[in-house]
Symmetry: C2
Subunit: 182 residues, 2 copies
Amino acid sequence: MLSAKTQYAIHALTFLGERFGKGPIPINQIAEHRQIPYKFLEAILLELRKSGVLGSKAGKNGGYYLLRPPEEVLVVDVIRQMEGPISLLPCVSKKFYESCRVCPHAEPGCIVREFFRQVRDATLHAMEGRYLSELLDPHAVKDRLHGQRGGKMSYFSSTRRLLRSIAELRDRKRHSGRKIAI
Amino acid sequence: MLSAKTQYAIHALTFLGERFGKGPIPINQIAEHRQIPYKFLEAILLELRKSGVLGSKAGKNGGYYLLRPPEEVLVVDVIRQMEGPISLLPCVSKKFYESCRVCPHAEPGCIVREFFRQVRDATLHAMEGRYLSELLDPHAVKDRLHGQRGGKMSYFSSTRRLLRSIAELRDRKRHSGRKIAI
DNA sequence: ATATAACCTATCGATTTAGTAGGGTTTAAT
DNA sequence: ATTAAACCCTACTAAATCGATAGGTTATAT
């Protein structure tokens, strides 16, 4: 299970994603809308800023904002950043590899290890190429587009266009043959 | 990541699986072969017995043993027993469902929830229908068969037969349409 | 200057983790 | 009956993690 911290982080990021391009959003706004304890959220956002996901601006009209558009923020990266390894065993993790406590030399033939490698492959496959943009509330995103484009576009044309661009981006990434470590 | 307890449990069960049919195996034998602290392992085996996976026999020549053959022990059941939910969010778990802290009413349209439901489906699909028998060291299983059948069978015929029966069992279960909850 | 808002350090109680210690009970081979 | 071997149970502990909270510092728009 994901810790409360990670869950809060994801929901905070969706809030910021839905308001991408609208300038810095203050912590209390996020905290109120998403029901997250202010001080806890403060620490989470600070961590996300230090890990390069968010930018911040101090002082009046300050707050936090995504450094890149939600279409380019990998959900799996956020989870790894906050939670650590996706793998169920340390010895099948690439990003957080540690030797197993039962077979410290990680024998290549370890059959338990092989099983959990398959599990992590399945989990990772479901996560890879999935972006923050896919977790946003379409209604909020609509507002965001209206805000940027002056509200000239219809709901249907704007969201259809957005969804198409997301699908294209995701498809490109999925078939790029890029190895994604776990 | 799985806790040390769960990892130890799995390895202890493989040890017992490889010796299934040979009567009770004492704790210290498992502890020594699998490098698990004796007292910690004792607690783990006790828990596995209470949850119906293992049987035990006290006294001289006593020990622990699998109540059913390894071909019938689901790995995912062991993980759930020791570790809890497989899901990454409480609100997508069937066996351990709890409401999400961000949306307490678990709105059916929650897009974050949908994402993590897909992830848990993928993880579960990799686990479902996988049995303890698939995690056993073939060499140890060979010995077990030799022990039971008096060593008359050749290595190849015995293991081939075993592997075929495992594959058949797994295939039956995989296509039985049985819903496996998470 | 003032209000606002991020930044930083430190702490804190509760829970979980990964064990350890020691003794009591039951079984069974002799 | 003795006694060794193993199960069973309670309690404890040191460390880490979790889920926050407190309070002061720095930056910035007005």
